[in-house]
């Protein structure tokens, strides 16, 4: 809020309606979703990082009806467009968090606020989007740092259900869902034993559990294929009626290769087992987590398996690994030509996603690649790069305006547009900050700023 006022003082007058909304929300700690874009907007004079080509300095980006109309140095701004000067500022595509539970959890330790873990091991039919709480306080917190979109995932059992790509603004989950489903979540069983001193489950018990899980997994796919066969044979002579099974019905797009499985697999044995299994099952997979992916980059490249790096700000997974092994993973994937995106993986801390990418950059990944790994590459892996991920005419006007490189913590996200809608960047945190500043202003501990 402070910065918005500083940098956009004049704009607020132009955009009176939004301004009132912001103030209102600040008073009651709730942000009001922005309606569809009604007027063309031109952001003039900033540096536009299209990510489809070189950055364009002193450029204009014009968007209308939620879509980008033109980007360049010589864009004609229509007379009825809202024209904002953003000289000295930067424009990037909105950041996309690939792995989150946003909307499905409010407070980690409060079970009643969690909706990401259905009972049982095989839940392909559940879909994340229907349980997204649009009024979650976590959403405005994440988007205030430029994360305008996120994939929200179920995460329990073996086949957890279907994930959805949501925009972090809307009145209902239907408003918010940008693409759903985007994936079927599969948790690959742990393939190595825990041998930590405090693990009391014996190695034999762990092995038995692993075998049961692998059997349950292959069993589910066998049953789904049997169901598929029976359904395809419907109507042929001698084929009786088959009742619907919601689980296997949900698996059809997976079996047909239309919906990728996001396989949570971090350890090398999991990765090898998952890739082997996917090859034999002839299903499309994306590796999620994948800390050990650097060991098999050639395999992943040859099989065209994308990787979602499950956080860069992680500890090495083994004592003997270099301290920098998680920091260097994206670079190794990049150098090997493996398609990858970087995820933060969380809920309340989604706002820190850019700094995962920054860490990879500080250990050798080119900065532009680091930015693409949280914008364009997620869009590509999600199969929605025809609409988001870069700034090009015809694509969604989902973008951020910043005062610097979004990978730097000192950079502020000053504006977020989702499909041309100017999103309220206020949130619970800013509101509480504002409120308690008042306490200390009242009591003389803090000097008020001009706007206070």
């Amino acid at each position: 809020m402070q910065h918005k006022i500083k940098h956009f003082g004049c704009l607020l007058i132009l955009m009176g309606v939004v301004c009132i909304a912001v103030i209102a929300s600040a008073q009651n700690s709730a942000q009001i979703p922005t309606p569809p874009q009604a007027k063309a907007v031109a952001l003039v004079g900033g540096t536009v990082h299209t990510l489809s080509g070189p950055a364009i300095e002193n450029a204009t980006i014009l968007f209308d009806n939620g879509k980008i109309v033109a980007i360049g140095s010589n864009v004609t701004v229509p007379a009825d467009a809202v024209s904002l000067s953003i000289a000295g500022k930067h424009v990037y595509p909105s950041i996309i968090e690939m792995v989150s539970n946003l909307g499905l959890i409010e407070v980690d330790a409060v079970n009643a606020s969690a909706d990401y873990a259905e009972l049982g091991d095989i839940n392909p039919n559940v879909r994340a989007e229907v349980a997204i709480n649009p009024d979650s306080e976590l959403l405005p917190v994440a988007r205030a740092n430029g994360i305008g979109m996120a994939v929200s995932l179920p995460r329990s059992g073996l086949i957890s259900g279907k994930g959805a790509l949501i925009q972090l603004d809307g009145w209902t989950w239907e408003d918010m869902a940008l693409k759903a489903p985007v994936c079927m979540v599969l948790n690959w069983p742990r393939m190595t034993n825990f041998n930590s001193p405090w693990v009391r489950v014996s190695p034999e018990q762990q092995k038995r559990r692993r075998e049961e899980q692998l059997k349950a997994l292959s069993g589910a796919f066998e049953q789904a294929r049997a169901y598929q066969k029976a359904k395809e044979a419907a109507g042929e002579s001698g084929v009786p009626f088959h009742a619907v099974d919601a689980r296997w019905e949900a698996m059809m797009p997976v079996l047909k290769g239309e919906l990728p499985l996001w396989v949570n697999a971090s350890e090398i044995k999991q990765i090898l087992a998952a890739v082997d299994w996917a090859t034999r099952e002839n299903v499309k997979i994306v590796l999620n987590g994948a800390a050990d992916a650097y060991m098999v980059t050639d395999l992943l490249k040859s099989k065209n398996i994308p990787v979602i790096v499950g956080g860069v700000l992680n500890l090495p997974s083994r004592r003997d690994e270099g301290f920098d092994s998680p920091f260097a993973l994206p670079l190794k994937l990049y150098e090997a030509g493996v398609k990858f995106a970087i995820a933060g993986g969380g809920s309340w801390d989604v706002r820190n996603l850019p700094y995962h990418a920054a860490k990879a950059a500080s250990y050798g990944l080119p900065v532009e690649e680091a930015i693409k790994s949280i914008t364009l590459y997620p869009a590509q892996i999600l199969g929605i790069d025809d609409r988001i991920g870069t700034l090009e005419a015809g694509k969604d006007a989902s973008l951020i305006v910043t005062d610097g490189n979004p990978l730097e913590l000192t950079t502020h996200v000053e504006k977020l547009y989702l499909q041309g809608r100017d999103i309220d960047l206020n949130n619970k945190h800013k509101a509480l900050y504002k409120k308690y500043r008042q306490k200390y202003i009242q009591r003389g501990h803090v000097a008020p700023t001009d706007s206070e």
């Binding site: 407070v107 330790a109 976590l138 083994r318 270099g322 850019p354 500080s362 913590l409 501990h445 803090v446």
Partner: protein, 1025 residues
């Protein structure tokens, strides 16, 4: 009668013997039922090689046993007329082995002690026992002793004749019993009791959750219990002494059998045996021994080689075990990835541990404890000898050393006149792989170990088979071993290998195929050896009989032993500190003078940020900061052009490098100390150095309103625990409020308090108790002169920590979230007269910053954590900036091993959220945490005179795109990103070499088949945050 007098003579001078030595078949006190058994037991073992003591050998000697003792030993001993002679030509006699760490004869069942929360049955409740069921000092192993001949036989087969047994439960385990491994009644086998008190860091039983007697459930709590118990033991003595002198008008102290039993151990008159396991727990034991002047024997699980210097310096006496691990599974590349270099090295080095102890000059005994299969003992012992332990030292560690420790050198451990006849007979050098133990004598009683035939039939014989129709001549060659001979027949020029040979006494039975002498079927012979002749009968395949004779022609010649033994492969790589990946062979050097030039220096001091500046370090201290500093030619000069220098980062809230974090049983555990359980092996130390961190404040967890004492460390990677502890650290303690202490996540909490209301009352009540405690001592100290026999108050370490807080000798770091609980504690503190120095977490500090400031508190917070639990739903990332603006001293902490690797960019969040100026923001992770830990005089900023703890960054320390290149502590470079690359390569090379060693020699593994003991570990999972 005469016999008993003789034995009495043996006991003279002993104060430790509780039981009588008995060698007759029954105890002297037992009435004889039936006929008296009076078979004499006088044996002369002749022509033997007698190893009287390690290094002292008599060839061709005679050893005379009379009843239970050695009557004579030597080369020219007159054999008594009443002695039965046994010819031991070619045999060797050794003193019987002694194991001073055994649980032979002790109860096996591991029943859960204690029970329901309101009591229930527990053997600790009968009689005036200690309140804590882990303090079993008054128990006597002798009283529990039940001989078990199957186990005894297993031990005899390994050469043992004597053990010191302890029960395997409890922190204090009671008096050990010295037992002989023969057959008989306990009264015959128990030789002595009350020699040593058993102790362990592992109480080895669990009580039901929620019982106050669960305490301790952490290693830290165990050590605190030991400490308080020794203090109580002293108090108990003094209190009773005072009371007995003047009972009138005084309350009697409690009666406590455990404290009574501990008197001679607490005074150092008698030794305690401390079951440790790894090198770090040995060092922990050493500290306790020092603190209470205990005479201590420490059990080493085989890891002592990892800290030999420190153990040697401490003068520790060890009981080392031979639990050598199996080769780790490295069959596939993926399996190998689950194995750590330190495990590979442990496999490689463990068999050399005893030898290394000996070379280091550490006094040690050897125990068979820890072996999964006791019959692996001798094999492992021989491996240890092959791998560098001198045979004499091995023997000493199992005979003379333990005998001396037991105070029984005059009875046990050597083969000298008058000593107890506990010895073993072997057919060769005890440390030779082929040698068998043949006999064991215990109290003079003979136990056969290997059933060796009395007759050696081996040799070459002429052979004649005499049948009606034919006569065949040739030879039979009996070879192989005495108990399993082989036979080869030469008949009519044909060589025939016998199908079977059986020998029993002088009877010889041979069968062989007849085809090579033109006879179908199998021919069988049985004969009797008489002098040099064997004669007997044979049966052809058709059942018809014939006679045969054989005559001795030539003696059996042992084939020259093929060099079957594999070449000895010693360990590949030297030990590093800590052992495993990224360990160092020595501490980094401290150059006399270091000059870092041309850098942007973030001083975190009054100088702010200096551009193009230099930093001069002398002998580990900052000598100068400024422009164009000159340095002597000898100085190490680092050109840091384009680089940034910051002070070493400090984390005021960490949980790394400790073997335990929570003693979560009682609601107050102010007596437990993180400093007791520092884990210098923890890899996070190195990983955090790589992120520019130089100090961490290791806090107790948040399981109780009043938690344990905390420990500030410097990340001097490679140092032992004592070397990590910061010399100038101020005493601290952890408090906690809110959800964790009221156990919100436990479904059935039974521990008071259960609400924030109760927490406030609990803390108030504890401080009231501490005040009363202080008053009690004041009164006592004031009237002690007038009434010297006043019963003294008991020292209470739990309350003393609170007294220290009230005296401002100990500062509080209080885990806290919500404004109500923060304010409530401030009010209790104001009222009770103490200060809450630092509120940690303090995520709603922004709501009551003015009250905190007024109280004098500081705030150590997360930069931007929120919503992970209900009480942090109102947490905001502006918290730090707003508290700072109100005037509180603010730091950002990690509470997390990963986050602590990037505290620099945590500081940047104060810039991002709330607009704190950059140099000021960096202070949130440098000088501000130093002030909060009250060490700002020494660290936290780059100012003259302070410790030279600094970091070289390749860009602004606040930039997410910068990285740490070097980290210096005390003017020593502990991390260098280039050296790290070399180390990563070295780790890979060493792993590869050890994996090849395993793959090339899979058979070279000891028989016990497991990974080796784990270092002492926390009993519960750490609960942090």
């Amino acid at each position: 009668m005469r016999k008993n007098l003789q034995k009495m003579a043996l006991f003279l001078g002993s104060t430790t013997l509780a039981m009588a030595l008995l060698t007759s078949a029954h105890g002297q006190t037992m009435p004889v039922v039936g006929i008296h058994e009076n078979t004499p037991n006088v044996v002369a073992l002749t022509n033997a090689k007698v190893v009287v003591a390690p290094g002292q050998v008599i060839e061709n000697a005679t050893l005379v046993v009379r009843d239970g003792y050695i009557a004579a030993v030597g080369a020219n001993v007159a054999i008594p007329a009443d002695a039965v002679r046994k010819d031991l030509s070619g045999k060797v006699i050794y003193a019987g082995l002694i194991d001073v760490f055994s649980n032979y004869g002790m109860p096996k069942e591991r029943s859960q002690r204690s029970s329901g929360q309101n009591g229930g049955s527990s053997d600790s409740e009968a009689g005036p026992a200690h309140w804590n069921p882990a303090v079993l000092a008054e128990k006597n192993a002798a009283e529990m002793f039940k001989p078990d001949d199957k186990t005894a036989e297993t031990l005899r087969k390994q050469g043992f004749t004597t053990v010191l047994s302890f029960q395997d439960k409890g922190v204090f385990r009671g008096n050990g019993a010295l037992a002989f491994l023969g057959k008989g009644d306990p009264g015959e086998l128990i030789y002595a009791s009350g020699i040593a008190q058993g102790m362990s860091f592992n109480k080895n039983f669990r009580t039901r959750n929620g019982d106050y007697r669960d305490y301790p459930n952490s290693l830290m709590g165990v050590i605190a219990l030991i400490r308080q118990t020794y203090l109580d033991t002293k108090w108990y003595e003094n209190a009773w002494k005072a009371y007995r002198a003047a009972p009138a008008g005084q309350d009697a102290p409690e009666t406590n059998l455990a404290l009574q039993a501990l008197q001679p151990y607490a005074s150092g008159a008698k030794p305690v045996l401390m079951e440790a396991s790894d090198h770090l727990s040995i060092l922990r034991a050493v500290r306790l021994a020092d603190e209470f002047n205990l005479k201590m024997w420490i059990v080493d699980g085989g890891y002592a080689y990892r800290r030999l210097n420190e153990i040697k310096a401490a003068g520790a006496k060890l009981i080392t075990t031979l639990d050598f691990p199996d080769a780790p599974d490295v069959g596939t590349i993926e399996d190998e990835s689950t194995v750590e270099l330190n495990e590979l090295k442990h496999w490689d080095i463990a068999p050399e541990n005893p030898g290394r102890l000996a070379k280091a000059g550490i006094e040690f005994a050897i125990s068979a404890a820890g072996l999964e299969k006791p019959n692996a003992f001798l094999g492992n012992l021989r491996t240890a000898v092959k791998r560098g332990l001198a045979a004499d030292q091995a023997l000493a560690a199992l005979t003379t050393v333990p005998a001396s420790w037991l105070g029984l050198s005059n009875r046990l451990g050597t083969l000298q006149n008058g000593k107890i006849a506990n010895f073993i007979v072997t057919d060769g050098d005890l440390f030779d792989a082929d040698t068998n133990i043949l006999d064991s004598y215990i109290s003079g009683k003979h136990y056969e170990i290997a059933d060796e035939p009395e007759v050696d039939v081996r040799g070459t014989y002429t052979l004649t088979l005499i049948a009606e129709a034919r006569e065949d001549t040739g030879a039979v060659i009996l070879a192989g071993t005495i108990s399993k001979p082989t036979a080869e027949l030469r008949i009519n020029g044909a060589k025939i290998k016998a199908k079977s040979v059986e020998v029993s006494g002088g009877q010889v039975a041979i069968s062989f195929a007849g085809d090579s002498i033109g006879i179908d079927g199998v021919i069988r012979l049985t004969g009797l050896l008489d002098g040099e002749h064997i004669s007997g009968r044979g049966v052809w395949a058709d059942g018809s009989a014939f006679a045969w004779t054989a005559t001795f022609a030539d003696a059996f010649k042992e084939k020259a032993k093929k060099d079957r033994e594999k070449p000895i492969k010693m360990a590949e790589f030297p030990v590093v500190y800590p052992e495993g990946a990224f360990g160092r062979s020595a501490p980094p050097e401290q150059p006399e003078v270091v000059l870092v030039k041309n850098a942007t220096i973030w001083t975190s001091g009054p100088d702010g940020i200096l551009e193009k500046a230099d930093l001069l370090v002398r002998k580990g201290k900052i000598a100068e900061v400024g422009e164009n500093i000159e340095a002597p030619n000898s100085a190490l000069v680092i050109d840091a052009k384009g680089k940034h220098i910051s002070p070493g980062l400090i984390d005021a809230h960490s949980h790394i490098a400790a073997a335990a974090i929570n003693e979560g049983t009682h609601a107050i555990t102010s007596e437990v100390r993180i400093g007791d359980v520092i884990d210098s092996d923890n890899i996070h130390i190195y990983r955090q150095l790589a992120g520019g961190l130089t100090m961490a404040n290791i806090l107790h967890g948040s399981a109780n309103p009043i938690g344990g004492q905390i420990q500030a460390i410097k990340l001097r990677w490679g140092a032992a625990p004592e070397g990590l502890k910061y010399e100038n650290a101020f005493n601290g303690i952890k408090f906690a409020l809110g959800e964790n202490v009221k156990r919100s996540r436990a479904s059935n909490n039974t521990r008071y308090p259960n609400t924030r209301m109760g927490v406030e009352q609990f803390i108030r009540d504890q401080f009231q108790a501490a005040k009363d405690y202080r008053d009690e001592w004041t009164i006592y100290n004031g009237s002690k002169k007038k009434s010297p026999n006043m019963v003294p108050p008991r020292r209470n370490l739990r309350l003393e920590a609170l007294v220290e807080i009230m005296d401002d000798e100990r500062q509080i770091h209080c885990h806290s979230y919500r404004q109500d609980e923060i304010l409530a504690l401030i009010r209790v503190a104001d009222e009770m007269g103490f200060k809450v120095d630092v509120f940690t977490h303090i995520l709603e500090g922004y709501k009551v910053a003015d009250d905190m400031k007024k109280h004098g508190s500081m705030a150590s917070t997360f930069s931007d954590w929120w919503a992970y639990k209900f009480e942090v739903y109102d947490a905001i990332p502006f918290n730090g900036a707003l508290m700072n603006e109100v005037g509180l001293l603010v730091s950002f902490n990690s509470d997390d091993a990963e986050l602590a690797r990037r505290m620099n960019t945590e500081a940047t969040k104060a810039v991002k959220y709330g607009g704190v100026e950059e140099a000021e923001a960096l202070k949130f992770v440098t000088i501000n945490p130093a002030k909060q830990m009250r060490i700002e005089k020494y660290v936290g900023s780059l100012e003259v005179g302070k410790d030279a703890d600094f970091v070289i960054w390749n860009g602004s320390p606040l930039s997410t795109l910068s990285r740490c290149e070097q980290t210096w502590i005390d003017g020593r470079k502990y991390f260098d990103i280039e050296e790290d690359k070399a180390m990563q390569e070295q780790v890979a090379r060493q792993r590869a070499a050890l994996v090849q060693k395993i793959l090339n020699d899979k058979s070279d593994k000891p028989a016990n088949g497991r990974r080796g003991p784990r270092p002492t570990t926390p009993i519960t999972m750490p609960e942090t945050e």
